[in-house]
Symmetry: C3
Subunit: 334 residues, 3 copies
């Protein structure tokens, strides 16, 4: 990329401070940026670098207008403006496989759309369907009777089992397994009898799923991931979980069977949710929280067992004072 | 499937309430069921749906006999009865690969049993052995000198390293790695020297292992998983761990090196166990517990560091009262 | 292996107690050892077995000299001495693939070094480079323009995405994904817009990475793992994380974006670190700790939110006394 700030604001919007002809060739974080880079400021932790950055330009909010000494773009949402420049650079440089490899194995009964890429050592099993424009990287497996939508991107070593339904524009990262059996057994005397998992997984449009994620197929019925939801690496989603739209599930979180997650929910890293509960729209589950009951819409919970966050923080603060408390009680007793 | 209730009880046992000729074509959870489905009630949380369910029939316990208004099967173990119907449906619909693909790579020194399926892009390395009736899905790797028993089911993208021993009727889900090196180093001045992991993994009959699980090979000797034990997705089992029979290890739990787990133990999701401890038969480790010492047989522990569950619950309850406590002490001081 | 103790100390160093001609054929843990094995004692928990072990010889510290009744090697670092014998045995028995398989897919523009092994169903994409002596097991994917150093060992089913840089003598275990996209979105009204992750991952020499690990590529710039650092199974390393040299990250730990970890740091199992913090050289993060702020060099922290370990342990101890405390306050009030 090589653009002037003037050309850049055609993409990002906003207003220029300083030289409109400043040349921008790349993007970088505020502490790594060098000549030619444009950076941004959003996390207040990085405000201290606003004047030491070596970037050629910076994207800022109105409120930083007086502090900045290098060419800048003033934006209502600096992070979104910055993201738009990255999207431009990514378009220029990204390159995906194309065409059907002669080293893959596609069932005769599979229906393959237009402009599909199927790479080396991919297996597309019987009666499955791959939508137009979908790209499948090497060593993936698409099971019998599964349907992948249009313009999906499936990275290497992904496993999608049988009878799975995946929407359009879905991205699935490497090592992820969709439709493995739910963890269902019934005690029969001393031994555990497996309950076959005859349900499916359905993933709506615009979902992104990180690497080495596991999403279990339903016992009966379906496990469902709603439109626009984003799932980070190493997340576990058990059978019959239902997740709404535009929710965020951060790395290593785990959601137990039949739990229902609303729209716009955030589940932070390493949080765990028991089965058969409901998390309302817009709720936030803090990192490492252990959630054992329903969470109301827009509520933030943390700790184990998870409680409303403000209360939990108060308890944590008081905990730190326990040594003094025990001392005081000793004195009082005297 | 299309069966009357009368035919169904030949499989499930139990006694029919209502029309013996009710037609059942499928199974479903109590809230998703529709005409033609049979459902069941086991978790008391779902009792509220006993009369609003659209199922054509329901499997219940004796105690629900008076509450139910639709055709029903009265069973001592409704979940087991339900599971038996699912097993029937699964048998009718399941379809696995068969035969030896011409796109796989099988060493000349490997011994392949009767009726084995080896799918596309599978590698079976030197001197390994695959027992009769075992099915291996695409893109798996079976290492040198490893022995897989009879009637095993190995899903796509599984890695089984060298010198591993796997029993009969073992199911291994996608992305799982068996026999990766244990995490063993010795400090040598500033650097960490790798200790080669020359032991093995042995997995007994009837074990099921979820997706993206990691089971380390022993430093020396063996890591062992006992007969009938079931392991969920994303579980970590370190080198030289020994797990007994019919135990349950839920998703994202981690067991550190040389720890011994008894028979019939339950380790819930995201629990962590330090190394070199012993967990007795029938013990239960609650979700997210951090276990740093031995656990007695049949004991239930929770929290970090894990304590007997009743005590831990009492502490959690008192914690919620800390704000009041601090107030009271202020008053007392006055 | 078949060696006398006299030959063994040429490898291990140290001084022999007892018969110099004792024959050693293998190694084993103190409780599993049998005739012909040499064992060692390091963890005090196993001292009780010093005289019941069936090993033919034992490696001990000076301080155990008077307690031992079988032939022994007295060593300053018994574990290191033991490890050296294991290394010898491993060299005798280990066997890796060699040569370029005719079932792999190597791009014409890839540069492949001398004595490289590329196994069945491996894909080496455009413009990538594989250094001399590197061994790649079956079903791996090496992305466009990625560079792997010399004498690396890459186990089956590993995914290395595009533009990744890997040093020499790096070991990567099965199922691991290097360079998957960081988890970066920007809110745009109700929906989450993906921020393309255009950075890379760089891994220095002598790093070992366990199975089913995920290391995200940087948003911009790089995610970095320093020389000699060892990473266990199922660890998550987010975009732009920077890890120093000779650090240890134990299984199922997670490090959030842009966090900086020093040299010689230990992060124990299932610990979680928020983003944008700094962990100083030599710090220790206890298992399951939830770290939400900077950690000073050499500090040990534990608990959630993580606090200096001694303080955290004191709080945990007082917590157990809460029931008594509440009783006492009741009395005081009276």
């Amino acid at each position: 990329m090589k653009k002037t700030l003037k050309e850049i604001i055609e993409i990002t919007g906003g207003e220029i401070l300083g030289d409109h002809n400043t040349i921008i060739t790349n993007v970088a974080g505020i502490t790594e940026a060098k000549k030619g880079d444009i950076t941004f400021i959003s996390n207040p932790k990085y405000e201290q670098y606003i004047n030491s950055t070596k970037a050629s330009a910076i994207i800022i909010k109105e409120s930083h207008k007086d502090k900045v000494k290098i060419p800048a773009i003033v934006s209502k949402n600096p992070y979104l403006s910055y993201a738009k420049i990255i999207m431009l650079i990514a378009k220029e440089t990204e390159k995906h496989p194309s065409g059907i490899s002669c080293n893959c194995s596609v069932s005769k009964s599979a229906k393959i759309g237009e402009k599909v890429a199927i790479s080396d050592f991919v297996v597309i099993d019987e009666s499955s369907k791959i939508g137009d424009g979908t790209i499948i990287y090497p060593n993936c497996y698409i099971g019998r009777n599964s349907k992948i939508g249009e313009n999906c991107l499936i990275y290497p070593n992904v496993t999608i089992r049988e009878n799975i339904i995946i929407g359009n524009n879905v991205i699935i990262h490497s090592g992820t397994v969709i439709g493995c059996d739910g963890f269902g057994y019934v005690q029969d005397n001393e031994t555990l009898k497996k309950i076959p998992q005859i349900g499916i997984v359905e993933i709506a449009d615009d979902v992104e799923i990180g690497a080495n994620v596991t999403i279990d197929r339903a016992a009966t019925g379906k496990t469902f991931i709603g439109r626009g939801t984003k799932i980070d690496n190493l997340v576990q989603i058990a059978h019959n979980v239902h997740i709404g739209e535009n929710s965020i599930i951060v790395s290593q979180a785990g959601i137990s069977g039949s739990t229902k997650i609303g729209n716009g929910v955030t589940i932070a890293g390493q949080a765990g949710l028991v089965g058969h509960i409901t998390v309302g729209n817009g709720a936030v589950i803090a990192a490492q929280a252990g959630v054992i009951g329903d969470v109301a819409p827009k509520e933030t919970v943390s700790g184990y067992p998870a409680r409303p966050h403000k209360h939990a923080m108060k308890i944590y603060a008081l905990l730190q004072k326990l040594p003094e408390l025990f001392e005081e009680i000793k004195k009082l007793k005297k």
